[in-house]
């Protein structure tokens, strides 16, 4: 009897994450967390599989200020001390803290009219990355899982959903991994910390090639015999674990950013975010369909301006270099770029020069793939306190990212005999932003 059921057991998900983020071969015995892998049947109703497309999502955790980035309002009561600078798109200005990105704006577009009505970090992260309103007890797959499920070729040897972030420490609003929910743990994120490759564990030296082949043969024969009597999700997950571990080991170089040239490493800079961006480029070049790079922290209730100088000073050049490199290497036409946050920051400047949480009128950056370059969607009023044109929310952005990457966001996944909408059916893509 074949079990068509998504594996939602927490211990499975944990095993999967431990397996990918920790030891590989050494962890095979515990890598039982792929029970859902083969239960998510490949049938996809009405979905276009654009196999060569990818998504790069830069998530600025804590809530980056739209006024210090994509929607500056200089010399207004809310504008802060920074000026707006001209970009490579005539008439389009962004904050002076982003001089390198300003030189790439002909490749990018801004949505200035998000109204997500939310000021809670965790809810914002969930809603922006799942495209749905958060509801207790309901879990939707992360954007990365949806992208991996939709864009990853069946025989792709690498994980389809990679999160690059700093090692967690202290208070942290970032989720350490991204859930694939009912898509199954195969599409959950593999997490790379601090630009380091996964911790590969080589086969102990005393086990020869011959001995290794012999023990694998025993395992395979045992599996086959078992499958003749009873085929389960668990046994199939075991098999997938072994095969992906072998693939990862043979592709370990993909995760080694140190293999990039000294010149490229210098161009991306010595900051951790710079190395993360270079690693992202490397993964995208190797066809990983979804790469997310987190950058923290923008939760600037105090000294918003000083901290945005510091954080955006770290963000600007590596990000602009990445955009430029993707374009120069012919990858931008099939790589959708998004720079998002869980929300924006208040137009009102508080008494300690801070800005607080604000979901009422803020911005997201999009570009690449089927996103029209150099466009501005939506508008806020003179001092940025409200959206005056083309209100959108996380649902619209989610649809737009997927559509831009060639995924039919209005389609459905068929899993275990049930259908699940790819994105919130109550929302649509921002079609005027798509080419």
């Amino acid at each position: 009897m074949k079990h068509h059921r998504p594996c939602r057991l927490p211990e499975h998900a944990v095993s999967r994450r431990a397996f990918l983020g920790g030891g590989l071969l050494g962890g095979l015995g515990s890598a039982a967390g792929l029970g859902g892998v083969l239960t998510a049947a490949p049938a996809i109703a009405g979905q276009v599989r654009s196999r060569s497309r990818r998504v790069l999502n830069i998530f600025l955790h804590g809530g980056v200020s739209q006024l210090e980035t994509w929607d500056p309002k200089p010399n207004t009561d809310t504008g802060g001390p920074f000026r707006a600078i001209q970009t490579t798109v005539p008439g389009l200005h962004i904050c002076e803290l982003l001089p390198f990105t300003a030189q790439q704006m002909h490749r990018l577009s801004i949505v200035r009219s998000l109204d997500t009505r939310n000021g809670d970090h965790a809810r914002g992260v969930t809603e922006m990355t799942t495209g749905r309103g958060r509801m207790p007890g309901v879990e939707h797959p992360h954007l990365g899982a949806v992208a991996a499920r939709s864009l990853m070729p069946d025989d792709f040897p690498l994980p389809g959903h990679v999160l690059i972030r700093s090692s967690p420490g202290g208070r942290n609003v970032e989720s350490e991994f991204h859930s694939a929910a009912w898509l199954g743990p195969r599409y959950a994120s593999m997490v790379l910390y601090d630009a380091n490759p996964p911790k590969f564990e080589d086969r102990p030296g005393e086990i020869t090639d011959e001995a290794d082949m012999r023990r694998n043969g025993i395992r395979q024969r045992a599996n086959e015999r078992f499958l003749q009597r009873r085929r389960t999700a668990e046994t199939e997950a075991y098999n997938f674990s072994f095969s992906q571990a072998r693939e990862l080991l043979s592709n370990r170089h993909v995760f080694e950013v140190s293999r990039e040239s000294a010149g490229d490493q210098a161009r991306y800079g010595t900051s951790q975010f710079g190395r993360h961006c270079l690693l992202a480029r490397r993964l995208l070049e190797h066809g990983v369909p979804y790469v997310q790079v987190n950058h923290a922290d923008y939760d600037t209730h105090h000294e918003n301006f000083d901290f945005h100088i510091e954080q955006l000073g770290e963000f600007d050049q590596p990000f602009a270099t990445l955009v430029s490199d993707l374009a120069d290497r012919g990858l931008l036409s099939n790589t959708l770029i998004c720079v998002m946050s869980e929300f924006g920051r208040t137009p009102k400047i508080n008494k300690t020069y801070g800005r607080d949480h604000w979901g009422t009128a803020w911005s997201v950056l999009l570009g690449g793939a089927s996103i029209q370059p150099g466009a501005v969607i939506g508008k806020t009023n003179a001092n940025g306190t409200e959206v005056t044109d083309r209100v959108v929310d996380h649902g619209h952005i989610f649809h737009t990212i997927l559509r831009g990457a060639g995924v039919d966001s209005a389609g459905e996944f068929e899993i275990g005999g049930r259908t699940f909408p790819v994105a919130d059916p109550a929302r649509q893509a921002i079609t005027e932003l798509l080419t």
């Binding site: 804590g62 200089p74 010399n75 009561d77 802060g80 001390p81 920074f82 000026r83 700093s166 420490g169 202290g170 208070r171 942290n172 923290a296 922290d297 939760d299 600037t300 209730h301 105090h302 000294e303 000083d306 901290f307 100088i309 510091e310 954080q311 400047i349 008494k351 300690t352 801070g354």
Partner: protein
């Protein structure tokens, strides 16, 4: 206002309020007490006439202005803005216009200082540089590189032979005029932290003051930061010896007031005066040199962001976060 040397801080009182519109960022009491100049969360300098309270707007910057200084005769105002511009303003006349506009720094000018003889002025900023200028011609005299983070403030020695500068990381450099190589005086580590969650430097030596005898420097800021996101830490002023950089005292508040010391000044009455703002509200603090705890503090109606003591020491101007310039009598 009473004479400076007889100042009685416990008699401190509010003398005047001037609503200037947007939240203020800094202030400067001119040498003849004719005007107080204020920066605000706009791109203007607000000149308040001490006689009739009239306000004149000086337009020339393209960002907020927090750095001010005057020539000894009071006829020239110098301003430094977050636009990196240093502007010379002859103050005679109804509406001053810029005499010189100098693109002095790449990034914010955080502070400026005028030498006691009025012949030189110094600026510092986010480009990690300290620069010295000819006050008569506006010519760059010297450029000093050595800080590794944003330079927050600068002060001349009494004879103008030395410049002291302090930065985000609490590093204090001493620069002999004309000598490019700095002498690291000290690091006021109490005023700086690196938050590993926030992944950013927190605090810094925000303000600076020199004791009248020239032997001690005071640096104000925030210490013991427990929440970098919200700026939760205690007000503090670190006092160090000029001769050897040794920490003499960390002035604090008895009740561990949450906030940042945005202004500090040595008062001729024989005490350090500090201005604070932040979670604990706005306060004027009064510290004797031999005690870490204040001997008096005065509650302000709103957070303080800039402090300037009158030339005779009888009053203090405070730039407030609520957009009010308030003048206080110091007893």
């Amino acid at each position: 206002m009473t004479g400076a040397m007889t100042a009685d801080p416990q008699q401190t009182k509010l003398l005047r309020e001037c609503k200037l519109g947007r939240p203020l960022t800094g202030c400067h009491w001119d040498v003849h007490s004719r005007y107080v100049y204020c920066g605000a969360e706009d791109f203007l300098i607000h000149r308040v006439d001490m006689g009739d309270g009239g306000e004149t707007l000086l337009a020339g910057h393209e960002s907020w202005v927090r750095a001010f200084g005057s020539s000894p005769d009071g006829e020239m105002l110098y301003s430094g803005g977050y636009d990196g511009r240093l502007i010379f303003w002859p103050v005679a006349g109804g509406r001053p216009e810029p005499l010189r506009v100098i693109d002095a720094h790449r990034g914010w000018i955080r502070a400026l200082a005028v030498s006691r003889d009025g012949r030189k002025l110094a600026t510092c900023g986010n480009d990690r540089l300290v620069k010295e200028w000819d006050a008569a011609t506006g010519q760059l005299l010297h450029e000093y590189a050595g800080h590794e983070s944003h330079v927050y403030n600068v002060h001349y020695s009494p004879d103008a032979g030395c410049l002291y500068s302090c930065d985000l990381k609490g590093v204090v450099q001493a620069w002999t005029s004309g000598v490019a190589q700095p002498q690291a005086l000290t690091t006021v580590a109490q005023l700086h932290g690196y938050d590993t969650t926030f992944r950013a430097d927190i605090g810094g030596a925000r303000c600076i003051a020199l004791h009248a005898d020239g032997r001690q420097l005071a640096f104000g800021g925030i210490t013991k930061v427990s929440n970098a996101f919200a700026g939760v830490g205690e007000i503090a002023v670190a006092v160090v010896n000029v001769a050897d950089g040794k920490l003499q005292q960390v002035l604090q508040s008895k009740d561990k007031t949450v906030g940042t010391t945005w202004g500090v000044s040595w008062h001729p009455g024989g005490f350090w005066l500090g201005l604070t703002g932040g979670g604990g509200g706005g306060w004027l603090y009064f510290w004797k040199p031999d005690s870490a705890d204040e001997f008096f503090r005065f509650r302000l109606p709103s957070d303080g962001r800039g402090l300037s003591v009158s030339p005779d020491g009888a009053g203090a101007a405070v730039a407030h976060a609520d957009g009010q310039l308030r003048l206080y009598g110091l007893g």
